[in-house]
């Protein structure tokens, strides 16, 4: 079975686009082949800074033949129908058609055979189109011979439509396309890249500096081997392995340990075709700068790794650089050059760090008055003021000192105005803590600066220190209520203000810290602190639901997602959330847990079935009678012993449930509810609801309604599945 090899050789592809481009190439080509009836055994895509490559093995040499049958009119049908059929099927005369018999009689049938085409031909046809429409995040034209041009079409006088005829991520230089079985010299499929003068061949180039001339290749193994000889490691994962293991070994030889960084490793592997790992050094005095800042400087600006001393865990004054060259001087110039730049960068960082500490955080605050947080939500200063007041109000709930919570909230964002954070936004919060500690500010307050941004993602730590928790909640609640008030809610995949993350953050903080947070009350308070909205929407468009209730609904959805990820049933969350006044996350979760346990018992399952049965009967009869049976049943009209027993049991259970709920003992509430199971079962067993006596029937329907109502003390059973 033949193999296909494709290479698109270009100028440097941005590292961040490489993986996706390789995946896209593989998917687009294999999908197109399969659509053309060409099934393959395996496919693998590769990418380096200068090339995208794809190998597909085990392709058939040609497409299967296709036989198409087209049913025509009845034998003896009017000539018009026959002519139409011949035209549609592409036949010259009716004698070319076959006659087929079925139970309705004899029909004409046209059989056309489509010969499968050679795979090579199909490939030559599909790939140019794939290249033309290739989904690069951003692509370009280039000049010169072979560069695609811009066609300007005049559609009407004065209206020019510009058509980019071909574009690529960076100038494309050559294309390899070979096809053939393993044992033979593969053929070149010489398609032309549209609107360029590039014609696919079997030749490419190796490393820009460490190789010269063109290389002719056959298929994947030969291609990879020849590239390797021309100083190109084709496989990005292998480049990563080389970098990682060399970096670790070099570190080890110096008694140090590599600070691993997967994202940096991935990026660096996309910047080199031939990784050469080296170690460089900077002056020890830079180690006074916080380690996070050193790391950010070296990582972001220089794409280098940092090292630490395994004994102390502290950063070492060394770094790992990955070059793309086995230099003729052994790499001395490269090391010296990189060290020089890192030294300059660290001097800047040190200067920033020293300068920042000369200004107190408090003294920076007035500047926030000039910074807009959001056009409709006022300045940063106004927002900080709101957060501070809210943090103070939340303090008793989270058992924090209100004055400390307020002060922490006021200072928590101050580091945004420092030089270091201006340069490296990812150390925001952390720098605030360092600067606050350097000023001698209370540790609890200082730490809130870092902690209040947490949790950032599903794997991030949740703050637990009370002052930090107060500020974290206030910050997130102000964000959410603010954007809710101006109707900037997340839609679909769009969530530019990361509001889902903020809500999930509040959920995790509340649950992990077992905080009894009355969300609706808190939302109302936060909403009332927002600037007055002047441009009210049309009354017609105004939602009938208040923003705080809408926001609570959003929390319900987030909670469902969160609990589902934790293994809970989403319908149970719905069943609890449907009850009135459920805005306390801790209670909701405890209730869901108790409900889940209850429904696993026999009593629970049967009571659920009984309640659903009651609800079903009720809804059918209510529909039939066009009225609802929501009032109390008349005790004097209860006749059967089972219905009397049920009525009594409901009353008793409700009393018990209410008492248990008052103590927030959901287990006990469920246990009390379980006592209904036997009377409910007995009732359905022995009593006929639709009694002939109208009054009796009505009274029984009211009793059914009582079952439904009673269970609503713990959950809305109608929302539970099963």
């Amino acid at each position: 079975m033949p193999d296909l090899l494709l290479e698109l050789f270009s100028e440097e592809i941005p590292a961040r686009m490489q993986r996706q481009a390789a995946e896209n190439l593989k998917k687009l080509v294999t999908d197109a082949l399969v659509n053309g009836g060409l099934v393959y055994e395996g496919a693998k895509a590769f990418v380096t800074p200068r090339r995208l490559a794809l190998s597909i093995h085990g392709l058939p040499a040609k497409q299967p033949d296709l036989k198409e049958e087209k049913k025509g009119p009845r034998v003896g049908a009017p000539d018009g129908a026959i002519q139409g059929f011949l035209k549609g099927a592409g036949l010259k005369s009716i004698s070319e058609a076959k006659v087929q018999h079925d139970k309705k009689g004899d029909f004409y049938i046209a059989i056309t055979e489509k010969k499968g085409r050679a795979t090579q031909e199909v490939i030559a046809e599909i790939i140019p189109g794939i290249l033309t429409d290739f989904p690069w995040p951003k692509s370009m034209r280039w000049g010169g011979a072979g560069g695609p041009t811009l066609r300007i079409t005049k559609t009407a006088p004065g209206i020019d439509v510009k058509v980019t005829e071909f574009s690529w991520v960076r100038p494309l230089h050559s294309v390899i396309c070979t096809f053939g079985p393993e044992t033979e010299e593969p053929a070149i499929i010489p398609f032309k890249v549209p609107y360029t003068n590039i014609v696919a061949s079997n030749s490419t180039r190796g490393h820009r500096v460490m190789s010269s001339g063109e290389i002719s290749v056959k298929r994947l193994d030969d291609y990879a081997k020849k590239l390797e000889a021309a100083r190109v490691v084709l496989d990005a994962d292998r480049r990563k392995e080389i970098i990682l293991s060399d970096a670790k070994n070099i570190a080890l030889a110096q008694g140090l340990e590599l600070v691993e960084d997967e994202a940096l490793l991935e990026e660096v592997a996309g910047l080199v075709e031939w990784p050469v790992v080296m170690i460089g050094e900077f002056e020890k005095e830079f180690l006074d700068i916080p380690a996070e800042v050193i790391r950010a400087t070296i990582r972001i600006n220089q794409k280098c790794f940092v090292l630490r001393d395994p004994k102390t865990g502290k950063l070492a004054n060394k770094f790992i650089l990955v070059s793309n060259l086995e230099a003729t001087d052994g790499g001395e110039a490269i090391k010296a050059g990189n060290a020089r730049v890192i030294r300059a960068r660290l001097s800047d960082a040190k200067f920033f760090w020293d300068t920042d500490r000369k200004t107190k955080l408090e003294a920076r605050l007035p500047k926030f008055e000039q910074i807009t947080f959001h056009e409709k939500l006022g300045t940063q200063a106004a927002r900080i003021e709101r957060i501070a007041r809210l943090a103070k109000e939340l303090a008793p709930i989270v058992k924090a000192d209100p004055a400390k919570a307020e002060k922490a909230a006021r200072l928590a964002k101050a580091d945004l105005l420092t030089e270091v954070v201006g340069e490296f936004p990812e150390v925001q919060g952390l720098m605030g803590k360092y600067y606050a500690l350097a000023e001698g500010i209370d540790k609890e307050i200082a730490e809130a600066s870092e902690e209040h941004y947490k949790p950032q993602g599903p794997n991030d730590r949740v703050p637990t220190a009370p002052v930090s928790v107060a500020v974290a909640l206030a910050d997130k609640i102000d964000t959410l209520t603010g954007f809710w008030a101006i109707d900037e809610k997340p839609t679909g995949s769009k969530d530019p203000y990361a509001l889902r993350r903020a809500a999930l953050g509040i959920i995790r903080i509340a649950l992990d810290n077992k905080l009894r947070l009355p969300l609706l009350t808190v939302f109302r308070k936060a909403l009332s602190a927002l600037p007055k909205m002047t441009d009210q929407k049309n009354v017609k468009d105004a939602p009938s639901i208040s923003p705080e209730e809408d926001l609570l609904g959003f929390f319900g959805d987030r909670l469902k997602v969160y609990l589902r990820d934790a293994g809970a049933r989403h319908d149970l969350v719905d069943a609890v959330f449907a009850l009135e006044g459920q805005d306390d996350l801790v209670l909701i979760v405890r209730r869901v847990e108790a409900l889940g346990k209850f429904l696993e018992t026999e009593d629970g399952k049967n009571l659920l079935a009984g309640t659903k049965r009651a609800a079903n009967i009720l809804s059918i009869e209510e529909k039939k009678d066009k009225k609802t049976y929501s009032s109390e049943p008349d005790a004097s009209k209860l006749t059967a012993p089972e219905e009397k027993a049920l009525a009594a049991a409901i009353k008793a259970a409700e009393g018990e449930v209410e008492a248990a709920l008052k103590k927030e003992d959901f287990g006990a509430a469920m246990h009390a509810m379980a006592k209904l199971r036997a009377p409910v079962d007995a009732f359905f067993d022995k009593v006929i609801v639709n009694a002939d006596d109208k009054a009796v029937r009505e009274n029984r329907l009211k009793l059914l309604n009582r079952i439904r109502e009673a269970t609503r003390h713990v959950a809305d059973f109608s929302r539970i599945e099963g």
């Binding site: 000049g143 910047l271 050059g337």
Partner: protein
């Protein structure tokens, strides 16, 4: 390459570095222009780039452009930041297929050998909101240091570039510091001589950096500048309107003088910005106003001798 002891060796003098680049690009067939005689933020503003990048005519040019970034002034106290520095600008239109190779050869011409130094092309998309221009390309790294910008122009003054120009911009001071092995820009050897005859970059520019920093941040007459902005803006519009030959919109005769006023407006805006008298929201609208001028100049240029087929 020239002898290392030659004062005009790129490794010994700032002017030697410039001369080596001039020679290299002259040999590639570029027109070697002198700097444009107006204040501008980057070599891209030179009409030899902005306007000549538009239209179908081939154009190969190289020049040094003094570039003014009023906000980057540091009173001569920062070893790397200047409010006035030099860019070396190369435009090749259409961009040749071997532009990257040419670039590497130009580095070799100033003593940076790609077999010894790690030269890398790192993603950097270029955009100039004031010029209504964008392109794709890289920042070029030499041993971890950014030494040039490399851009394939896609759009200039709001018009698609056809053909595409390749633009190379070398930061001359930074490159010179690297090849001379100097840590402070003011220590650069300017003329390549030693002892009494040595002239440093600081000898030439330190005083200017101090004076202009004070000017840019503290003293530049903002009232005058606000007026100048308005005047340049209205003059530009006036010249553009008056430049149409015979009143029909087929041929334009005043694109270059009009564009000078766009350059002027842009620099005046930069000064106002460094004086801190333009708020965040106003800033955006000033940028848009300059862009409108640039676009109108580009449109006019396309109807001139130089901009037409």
């Amino acid at each position: 390459m020239s002898d290392k002891n030659d004062p005009l060796s790129p490794a010994r003098s700032f002017q030697g570095l410039i001369l080596a680049l001039q020679n290299f690009w002259a040999k590639q067939g570029c027109v070697i222009l002198q700097p444009y005689d107006m204040e501008m933020g980057a070599g891209t503003f030179h009409p030899a780039t902005t306007l000549r990048a538009l239209g179908p005519k081939p154009w190969n040019v190289a020049y040094v452009q003094p570039s003014r970034r009023p906000k980057d002034g540091r009173y001569g106290e920062n070893p790397n930041r200047l409010q006035h520095y030099y860019q070396y600008q190369v435009i090749l239109k259409p961009s040749p297929p071997n532009l990257q190779e040419l670039y590497l050869q130009s580095l070799a011409a100033i003593g940076i050998d790609a077999k010894v130094h790690d030269i890398r092309f790192a993603e950097d998309d270029w955009e100039s909101p004031t010029l209504g221009a964008w392109g794709l390309g890289w920042e070029c790294w030499c041993d971890g240091m950014e030494v040039s910008q490399f851009t394939y122009f896609q759009q200039v003054a709001g018009f698609e570039c056809a053909p595409v120009s390749g633009e190379l911009t070398y930061g001359l001071e930074r490159l010179a510091m690297y090849v001379q092995g100097v840590e402070n820009v003011y220590d650069l050897n300017f003329n390549g001589l030693e002892g009494d005859k040595k002239v440093t970059y600081g000898d030439v520019f330190l005083q200017a950096e101090k004076e202009y920093s004070k000017h840019n941040f503290e003293l530049a007459d903002t009232e005058m500048l606000f007026q100048q902005f308005k005047m340049a803006e209205s003059a530009c519009t006036k010249y553009l309107e008056a430049g149409w030959k015979d009143g029909s919109r087929e041929e334009h005769l005043m694109a270059l003088p009009a564009y000078d006023q766009c350059i002027k407006a842009s620099h005046v805006f930069n000064l106002l910005d460094s004086r801190g008298v333009i708020s965040v929201t106003e800033r955006q609208s000033y940028i848009l106003r300059v862009r409108e001028l640039a676009k109108a100049c580009g449109a006019a240029w396309l109807k001139t001798e130089g901009g037409r087929a």
